[in-house]
Amino acid sequence: MANENNKVITLMCERSADVNDLLDADGKIKSVDGLHAVKLPCSGMVQPIMIETALKQGAAGVIVCGCQIGDCYYREGNKMIRERLLGERVPTLKKATDRRRILALWLSRPQKERFIAEAGEFVKFVQGLPAPEPAAAPAAKPAPAAAKPAADAGPKTEAAKKAEATPEKKEPAAVVVDADGKVDSTKTVKPASEDSNDKDPKIEVEVAPIPEGRGPLEESSGDK
C-alpha cells in the first residue's frame, strides 16, 4: 500500500501550463518522479470528490492546475474550482480531507517551467508526509499489473521508500492557492466552514414531500 503512496495526480486544464512534450501516453510527467496528469477541458470540471477519490486510492497528493485567474477560456471555470477548494462554493471538500495534500496552481500556457518547479516541490513535500491512516486508503485491491504494460517502470519505488522512511511529524497546513502565478502561502485551503455537514456539502434541494419521509440526500450521495 505504501508503495503507491508516491504518486501525485494533477487534474489539469488542457489550456493551462503546456506540459504536452513532457507527458507520456500513460499520463506520466517525465521530468518529475511520481508526477502524473489527467487532462480536462477546464479546471472547473474538477469535482472535489475526484480529489478525494484520488487520495483514497492512495495518491500522495493532488494538484489542480488551471489557467491564470481571470483568463479562463470558459470565463469562470478556474474561479469556480478555486472557490470550491477554499470552501466558499458548494460542493466543497469533505472536512476530513487532508488539505496538505492538495495544491492549486493557476498558470498560463507558457508557464511550464513554473509548473514543473512548483509541482516538483509539492511532490517532495507530500512524499515526506506520513502515510495516511489505513482507513482512509482502501487501496487494498490488488493492482492488475498486466492492465498497464507501461513503459514507466521507472525509479519511482525509491521515492516510495523515502515516503515510508519519513518521521512522524505534523506539518502545518501547507496547501497553497496560487493567485498570480506567485505562491501565496498565506492562503491555505481551509476546511469547509464549521456548519457544513461532513458527509455532504450543504446543498438545498427543493423536494416534493415524500410519504415515507426519506430524504433524497442520503440516497443519492450513496452511489459515489
Binding site: K28, P41, Q57, G70, P91, Q111, A147, I203, A208
Partner: protein, 390 residues
C-alpha cells in the same frame, strides 16, 4: 493548418506573452487585459454621465439667419459650456476623450476575443451583437460631431446627405429622415440630438443581448483600474483642450475640408477616395456583414468538430440548482420535474449555448450531469489506472 488558423495561433501567442508580462507588473487581479470587456463598459458610463451634464446646457438649433448680438444656437451653446460654465470645458473634454477611449478599448476587447479564439460556436451571439454595438458606437460618435455645429459639422452633414441620397431606391427617404425635412433647419438639429442620445440608450439594449448568454459578465473593473482609466482621459483633457471650429453658416461658402478624427470619422475619409457612393456603401456594408459572419459555421475557417453539449442524467438529477448557478454560459435551465419525480426541478441543457467546459460536472454533487466526450467516470478511471500502474 490554414493561414487563418496560423494567424489566430500567433495572435493567441501574442496575447499570452503580453498577459504574462502584464501579470508580472500588475498581478492577475489588476491586469486590465483580464477586464477587456469591462473597459469599454466603464467608458460608456463616463460618457453617459458627462453627456448628461452637457445636455443640461446644449441647445439644438442652427439659427443664425439674423446673426446679431444675442444669438443662441448649438454652436454658441457649446461655446457657452466651454467658456462660462465652471468645469464645462473639462466635462466636454471628458466626453470627447472618453469616446475615443471607448473605441480603443472596444478594439482591444474585440481583437482579444478574436485572437484568443473566443468568438465562435456558442459565442457567436456575443460576437454578432458586438459588431452591431461597435457600428452603433461609431455612428453615435459621428452624430456627436454634427452636434457642435461648427464648419466641420456642416461639412459632415453635407457629405452624409450626399451618401444617403446615393442609396438606391430609399435614398431620398433616408435624406429627409436624416435632415428631418428637405433642408438643414432647426429640426435637423433636434433630429441629430435625438439620434445621438436615442442610439446611446439603445446601446443598453444591445449590451443586454451581448450579455444575455453570459453568467456574471465581468462589467466592472476593480476601482484601481477605473481610476487609471479616468486619469488617462484627464491627462488628454488638460493637455489637449477641445476647441470648436468656426460657427457653421448656411448662406456663406460651404467648407471644403475639415480636421480629421480617425476614431469616428474614418468613413468620411473612405468616402473621399472611392469612385462613387455606391462603392462606398458596398465597402461599408460588406465589411460589417463580413465581420458579423466571421463566427458562422461555414465561415469558421477552422476545422473542428462541433461542441458536444453536457447531458443530464434524468434519473440522478435532484434539481439542486448548482449546475444552473455555476454554468458560465447560461446554458442550463431548471424546468419543472416530470410528475412522477420526487423532486421539483430538473436541470436541462440548452445545447446551442453549451461550451462543453464541464463546469457543471464540477458543480454537481450527485453525478447527474456529464460531458459525452469525457464523463467524470472516465476521469476517475484514468486516476485509477495511474494509481494501479506500477
Amino acid at each position: 493548418m490554414s493561414a487563418y488558423e496560423q494567424l489566430i495561433k500567433s495572435g493567441n501567442k501574442f496575447f499570452l506573452v503580453l498577459e504574462d508580462l502584464t501579470n508580472k507588473i500588475m498581478t492577475s487581479k489588476y491586469n486590465p487585459l483580464y477586464y477587456h470587456g469591462a473597459l469599454p463598459q466603464f467608458y460608456l458610463w463616463v460618457l453617459f454621465l458627462s453627456g448628461l451634464l452637457l445636455f443640461a446646457y446644449y441647445i439644438p438649433t442652427v439659427d443664425n439667419a439674423y446673426l446679431s448680438k444675442g444669438i443662441i444656437n448649438a454652436w454658441t451653446s457649446v461655446e457657452y459650456i466651454n467658456d462660462k460654465i465652471p468645469f464645462g470645458a473639462v466635462v466636454r473634454g471628458i466626453h470627447r476623450y472618453a469616446g475615443d477611449a471607448m473605441v480603443i478599448t472596444i478594439l482591444l476587447h474585440a481583437i482579444r476575443v478574436w485572437f484568443t479564439d473566443r468568438y465562435r460556436q456558442y459565442r457567436w451571439l456575443q460576437w454578432f451583437s458586438g459588431i452591431v454595438l461597435f457600428v452603433m458606437v461609431l455612428f453615435i460618435g459621428q452624430t456627436g460631431y454634427y452636434l457642435v455645429w461648427d464648419e466641420r459639422s456642416l461639412a459632415l452633414t453635407r457629405m452624409t446627405v450626399y451618401a444617403l441620397e446615393g442609396v438606391p431606391l430609399i435614398g431620398p427617404g433616408l435624406k429627409s429622415w436624416f435632415l428631418n425635412g428637405d433642408t438643414i433647419s432647426n429640426y435637423t438639429m433636434s433630429n441629430y440630438l435625438f439620434i445621438h442620445i436615442g442610439l446611446s440608450f439603445s446601446l443598453l439594449f444591445g449590451l443586454w443581448i451581448h450579455y444575455v448568454r453570459m453568467t456574471r459578465p465581468v462589467m466592472t473593473p476593480p476601482p484601481a483600474i477605473n481610476y487609471v482609466l479616468m486619469a488617462l482621459v484627464l491627462v488628454f483633457v488638460f493637455m489637449f483642450p477641445i476647441t470648436s471650429g468656426k460657427m457653421a453658416t448656411l448662406n456663406g461658402t460651404p467648407p471644403t475640408g475639415f480636421e480629421m478624427d480617425w476614431f469616428f470619422l474614418a468613413p468620411y475619409a473612405l468616402m473621399n477616395v472611392v469612385p462613387s457612393v455606391l462603392v462606398y456603401w458596398l465597402i461599408v456594408v460588406g465589411i460589417t456583414v463580413g465581420l458579423c459572419l466571421l463566427p458562422m459555421p461555414w465561415a469558421f475557417l477552422i476545422k473542428e468538430p462541433p461542441v458536444e453539449a453536457a447531458e443530464v442524467v434524468l434519473t440522478k438529477c435532484v434539481g439542486c440548482n448548482l449546475c444552473y448557478l455555476d454554468c458560465p454560459y447560461q446554458a442550463i435551465e431548471m424546468v419543472p420535474a416530470p410528475a412522477n419525480s420526487r423532486f421539483k426541478l430538473l436541470a436541462t441543457v440548452m445545447p446551442y449555448r453549451c461550451s462543453g467546459c464541464g463546469v457543471c460536472v464540477g458543480a454537481c454533487a450527485f453525478d447527474a450531469i456529464d460531458l459525452p466526450d469525457l464523463p467524470d467516470a472516465n476521469v476517475l478511471a484514468q486516476v485509477k489506472q495511474i494509481m494501479e500502474a506500477k
